[in-house]
Amino acid sequence: MIVCVAVVGHQNNPLYIQSFTEADDALKLHHIVHCSLDVVDERVNNPKKSGPTLNETFLGLLYPTENYKVQYVFFSYGYLTNTKVKFILVTTDLDVRDADVRNFFRRFHAAYVDAVSNPFHVPGKKITSRTFAERVSTIVKSFGLSSAT
């Protein structure tokens, strides 16, 4: 289950952050998003792998990065657009299929582009569009459902 999604601008300014949990752990989720940003920077500045994955927008699993430990119950995935906008996805699922996450980010990106193309949206400011929020929650709800087919 996806517990949190975030859009972070090119100066690491939060543009949109939304959690999808009943419990009051927004602060914890924000912390994870914050930690993930450092990992994004690290991935982008020193790309380990070369070849076709170089400069790909999808950045994969960010947090926890290397050693899986039991106390981590959240996993975050990252996506960096060409315009240096970061998308962070936080989930509680341990075994998420890569394709599902990619598909999620692709649809999320499309929603984001439509939101910022609104002439009333000020670039660099928070996204306040209600349509965007609705679209995001639809995408979040449908996450992982396609794998059943």
């Binding site: 315009t83 240096k84 990106h109 193309s117």
Partner: protein, 174 residues
């Protein structure tokens, strides 16, 4: 997706926008009108670049981004690519379009030309050049907006060589 818009509508809108800014809002301040038109283009370019770079990997250097502008971006906006790209490899790029769509329908007002050519041919010509150069602030803004959204701050200027052809000079700020 794949929504389309009538080309003639865009042409008319552009002409109307330029003439409104130049003749109504800032009739005596062409500098200010140019700045405003460029700012509109900037916003358009900013948003378009977000949309058109959606399905592609990130650019590794400036040249790649400029090439994207010349090929994919230009094709999306004008249904053709930039005809010629030159660079001095030190941050200046010249993008030449031999038949720029937004200039292809511009003609010099014959009444204006004949009336003024009796005195001297220069004012009419410069007036016509000024009028058509006004139409280039919008595409300049689009290029600047697109590149700055891709993380490349730059200054863009345009000049008209002979009418449907024009070139855009992109100077990347260090």
């Amino acid at each position: 997706m794949g929504r389309e818009v009538s080309e003639s509508c865009v042409d008319s809108l552009l002409t109307e926008m330029v003439s409104t800014y130049c003749n109504r809002f800032y009739a005596n301040k062409p500098e200010l009108a140019a700045r405003r038109i460029e700012a509109i283009g900037y916003q358009v370019g900013h948003q378009l670049s977000e949309r058109y770079t959606m399905e592609r990997p990130r650019f590794s250097d400036h040249l790649e981004a400029i090439k994207f502008i010349c090929k994919d971006f230009w094709s999306e906006v004008f249904k053709k690519q930039i005809d010629n790209l030159k660079t001095n490899h030190r941050g200046t790029f010249v993008l030449q379009d031999n038949r720029f769509r937004w200039l292809s329908r511009i003609s010099i007002d014959p009444s204006l030309e004949s009336a003024e050519s009796q005195d001297s041919s220069t004012p009419a010509e410069s007036k016509a050049a000024q009028a058509s150069s006004m139409h280039l602030y919008f595409p300049c803004g689009i290029i600047r907006g697109a590149l700055s959204n891709l993380g490349i701050p730059c200054a863009v200027s345009a000049d008209i060589s002979n009418l449907p052809a024009c070139s855009f000079v992109v100077r990347i700020k260090a």
